[in-house]
């Protein structure tokens, strides 16, 4: 069963991904940008899995969704830690 809100969430996530792609030359100048991007990639995977679980492999994709959320959160935490502790004035 596909919920409308899940599709909206996926669409917004894809839009943000397009925005990131368009600004990739500047995005790479964000400190520890790879960690942050991985966090976002897994967030998107979770959103995609949420939508797809309504069509096939509901159990497997449901697990994937929640695992992706965990990985995304962990990546995000690992991005916040060095950024908050960094001594330099400039975050980029």
């Amino acid at each position: 069963m596909v919920f409308q809100n899940e599709i909206v969430m996926l669409l917004i996530s894809v839009s943000v991904a397009v925005f990131i792609y368009c600004n990739r030359t500047d995005i790479v100048r964000i400190r520890h940008y790879t960690t942050l991007l991985w966090a976002y990639v897994f967030f998107c995977i979770a959103g995609l899995a949420t939508v797809l679980e309504g069509f096939f492999f509901p159990v497997l994709l449901n697990y994937s969704e929640h695992i992706s959320y965990v990985i995304s959160s962990c990546f995000f935490l690992s991005w916040v830690c060095p950024v908050c502790n960094h001594e330099e004035e400039n975050p980029v």
Binding site: F3, N5, E6, V8, M9, I12, S13, S15, V16, F19, I20, N23, D26, I27, R29, I30, L36, Y40, F43, G47, N62, Y63, H66, I67, Y69, V70, S72, S73, C74, F76, L77, V80, C81, V83, C84, N85, H86, E88, E89, N90, P91, V92
Partner: protein
């Protein structure tokens, strides 16, 4: 607890930890990046979202679906905002870096960078701090023409040139570069170089000029000094070249004059009874005498004349000249002397110095046709190496007596003053001056290791400064020897000169004086003859400059044959150089060409004595 609940708990824990970290480190974060609000928001949303997921999968019979949906939609949006604000941070950082770079560039550019509106006063919109070093005024004075406009400190004589160049470059849409003067805050004049361009030539908007102004005063001063030094070298080389030429001409001319003078003297002796012819000969003699004066001046200029070296009292020379001038010039000219030099003696030729000072004084007289004041001053000047260089007199360091002759006449303009020491340069009417007086003075001063300099202001007068190297000693007293008639003698004279005419006239003059003469135009032949007849020859007269063998070499050759040979050198050239060497080697005397019968007779008497 199911696996999914555990996973959601983990996600919640991670998000919540990050949120706690962000809150605890907020102070550090505050200055680091602007995106912290959205990080916080994202973390809050994530924590809440995962919290709802935990509840949902914990089989708690409470439905949060609508709230979960809202948070589910907000979560990717906050991701978007997070990336957006982080990019803003990147751009802000770029801006900061660019600002710093720009500031550093502006500060380190060797000059003042400016931006101004193209109006009458060049209203300044921006100006870098360097302008303070260049103009002495703080930059804030110029911004918006707050205290003064930059145009107001441009030298009044250069304003038009600056305005013209800038307007032309705007019209042609080209860069402009110009050099002009500004008035420094301390009143001094500074040279600046400006390079700039108009940012826009759109006439509907005010034109903005941008550029850089650099201080080039030092460079300009060095350049001027270099140009002056080059000009000085050029002038010296030119004077030397002219001197060489003049000396050569005078030498050859003297040979001709020797013949003329000799023949005139001989004729005069033969025409003793014919008064009319003698009168004509007297006129001829006078013309030759004038011609000889001219060649003497040429030789003085070229420093190839005969110089006696003895101690000369310059104050005495001034008194002598003053006496002559007082007797001969217009009474409207007042002559004064202020002789304060403690030591007024120099080593030199009194007759040349006397003539030179007379020439300078006569020039001063000629500059005051309506009367005025002629002032002779003397003072001691000590030149160290730097001072000597700075004065551009081309003299060695040491103590000099500066003898200045000042007139209150018409003065000489800056253009003319450059040429006054050149031979035959005169501003006098045709026939009133040969143009040799000051050039002879120049040569005389050079040959006395001194210098001459002229300072003049049109309408106010001229000062000629003569620098003589000071020598301590007592000047000898001179008695004028007047020879009434030539002394006759006896003996065999060998006369050697490469000029046949001079040989002919000399032979006749010597014969007239009672001597037997043998002449040679080739020195080698003279040596051969002398080898065979040295017992019979009483003395030898030798020309100094001859091809293949000069007078000095000939003297050495003759001396090898007969060590006590009596030799008299005759030359249209100098006593310096080779002739001086010959005198030092033992030659008995020197006779300057052209010579009269009397002078020849006196020289021979002197040598034989």
């Amino acid at each position: 607890m199911s696996l999914i609940t555990a996973l959601d708990s983990l996600a919640f824990l991670a998000s919540f930890s990050a949120l706690v970290l962000l809150i605890t480190k907020r102070t550090q974060c505050r200055t680091k990046f602007e995106g912290k609000t959205f990080i916080g928001l994202l973390l809050c949303l994530g924590s809440i979202y995962y919290f709802f997921l935990i509840i949902e999968w914990s089989h708690i019979s409470v439905s949060f679906d609508p709230i979960e949906d809202v948070f589910g939609a907000l979560l990717p949006m906050s991701w978007g905002f997070l990336f957006y604000t982080l990019l803003q941070d990147v751009h802000r950082a770029d801006l900061r870096v660019n600002k710093l770079r720009y500031k550093s560039l502006v500060q380190n550019i060797p000059g003042a960078v400016y931006q101004c509106t193209y109006d009458q006063d060049y209203t300044m919109e921006f100006m870098s701090d360097e302008i303070t070093d260049i103009s002495g005024y703080p930059k804030t004075d110029f911004i918006a023409n707050h205290v003064r406009s930059f145009a107001s400190i441009i030298h009044p004589e250069d304003r038009e040139h600056v305005a013209k160049t800038v307007s032309e470059s705007i019209a042609e849409r080209k860069l402009f570069s110009l050099e002009y003067r500004i008035i420094h805050r301390d009143g001094s004049v500074q040279w600046v170089y400006e390079r700039g361009r108009a940012r826009s030539t759109d006439t509907s908007k005010p034109i903005i000029l941008e550029g850089v102004i650099m201080d080039i005063t030092q460079k300009k001063t060095l350049l001027e000094q270099k140009q002056q030094a080059e000009q000085q070298i050029f002038q010296l080389q030119k004077m030397d070249a002219i001197g060489q030429l003049a000396g050569g001409i005078a030498h050859d001319f003297n040979n001709q004059l020797t013949a003329l003078l000799g023949y005139a003297d001989l004729l005069a002796m033969r025409l003793k009874e014919k008064k009319h012819e003698l009168k004509l000969l007297g006129s001829m003699h006078l013309s030759i005498h004038h011609a000889r004066k001219l060649t003497e001046q040429l030789l003085a200029f070229s420093r190839k004349g005969k110089i006696h070296h003895e101690v000369v009292d310059l104050h005495q020379v001034v008194h002598d000249v003053k006496l002559i001038m007082e007797r001969s010039i217009d009474k409207k000219i007042d002559i004064r002397t202020v002789l304060s030099a403690p030591v007024a003696t120099t080593m030199g030729d009194p007759s040349q110095i006397h003539n030179m000072l007379l020439n300078v004084a006569l020039n001063a007289r000629d500059a005051m046709p309506d009367g005025g004041e002629m002032l002779f001053e003397s003072d001691e000047v000590i030149f160290d190496e730097m001072h000597a260089k700075a004065q551009k007199l081309n003299i060695a360091s040491g103590t000099y007596m500066c003898l200045s002759v000042t007139d209150t006449g018409c003065g000489i303009d800056a253009q003319t003053i450059q040429y006054i020491f050149e031979p035959f340069f005169t501003t006098k009417e045709e026939g009133k001056g040969t143009g040799m007086g000051l050039s002879a003075a120049y040569g005389t001063m050079k040959s006395h290791k001194g210098a001459i300099a002229a300072y003049s202001e049109v309408g106010r007068g001229t000062t000629m400064k003569l620098y003589f190297p000071v020598t301590h000693g007592v000047a000898p007293k001179h008695n004028n020897i007047i020879t009434n008639s030539p002394h006759h003698g006896k003996g065999h004279v060998l006369f050697v000169d490469d000029n046949q005419t001079v040989c002919d006239v000399a032979a006749m003059m010597l014969a007239q004086l009672g001597y037997d003469v043998t002449v040679f135009t080739k020195p080698q032949k003279a040596v051969g003859f002398f080898k065979d007849h040295f017992h019979a020859i009483q003395f030898v007269i030798i020309d100094m400059i001859m091809p293949h063998m000069n007078g000095h070499e000939l003297y050495i050759a003759l001396k090898d044959i007969q060590p006590d040979v009596k030799v008299l050198l005759a030359s249209g050239y100098t006593l310096n150089g080779e002739a001086q060497k010959a005198l030092d080697a033992g030659v008995q005397g020197f006779m300057q060409k052209p010579f009269t019968l009397d002078q020849l007779s006196s020289a021979l008497t002197h040598v034989l004595a």
